[in-house]
């Protein structure tokens, strides 16, 4: 299961959603808005998506996770819009029979989200400037 939302992510609910008796491990990852990046101070982030394609890619990632590990359940939620420091931008919760599987599956899922889902983040720096993050460009 996966979704895009503009609402605050209820990670307790997501964790409960995947917890089940045939699994001994639940791993929940939260991505949060961090204040410092390469010495620059963030005051907020804005997230934008190509929603139709983002949902397709999230569905694809779910299929990949389920094909690689014995997953009880997996849920991925990405928040869009304006986020303040410390807020949760993305959550991935996975349940598996064993913890090695759950850790690996959750790690894989968030890495893939960051790799292929058409979502973009814009830094709002403390000096008042804004900048769309570009992972292909090294900062000076």
């Amino acid at each position: 299961m996966f979704s895009l939302t503009r609402d605050i992510i209820d990670y307790h609910a997501l964790t409960e959603q995947v917890r089940r008796n045939d699994c001994g491990a639940v791993v929940t990852f939260l991505g949060t808005v961090r204040e410092l990046t390469e010495g620059k101070q963030t005051v907020a982030l804005d997230y934008e998506a190509y929603p139709e394609m983002a949902e397709k890619k999230l569905a694809e990632i779910e299929r990949e996770v389920r094909s690689r590990w014995p997953v009880g359940d997996v849920v991925m939620v990405h928040r869009l819009g304006h986020l303040e420091l410390g807020e949760i931008s993305v959550a991935v919760a996975v349940s598996c029979p064993h913890r090695d599987q759950a850790f690996a599956a959750c790690r894989y899922a968030i890495d893939r989200v960051k790799e292929i889902v058409p979502i973009w983040k814009k830094e709002n720096w403390a000096d008042g400037s804004t900048e769309w993050v570009d992972p292909t460009q090294a900062h000076g």
């Binding site: 998506a49 968030i110 889902v117 058409p118 973009w120 769309w132 993050v133 570009d134 460009q137």
Partner: protein, 79 residues
């Protein structure tokens, strides 16, 4: 053909969509060149960007289907 823009591409073009002149049967690579020619402000970002056709990443060799939904996707930065 109309190309949907996102993130920095949208800012650079000051538009959510741009119009590109392209003959029928053109490839994604030809579209990429045309975008850079018609919208020079996008050229540098374009070189690092993906093009999506009908909500899938498209390689430059792909022939554009009729009535395709095409989008210019700068390097993604979700999560």
């Amino acid at each position: 053909m109309k190309i949907r823009l996102f993130a920095r591409a949208k800012d650079l073009a000051a538009a959510e969509r741009i119009d590109v002149d392209l003959p029928p049967g053109a490839t994604v690579g030809e579209l990429r060149r045309r975008i850079g020619e018609q919208y020079p402000a996008l050229a540098a970002l374009l070189a690092r960007s993906a093009l999506a056709v009908n909500e899938e990443f498209a390689h430059d060799g792909l022939t554009l289907p009729v009535n395709a939904d095409v989008a210019l996707l700068p390097p993604v930065s979700g999560g």
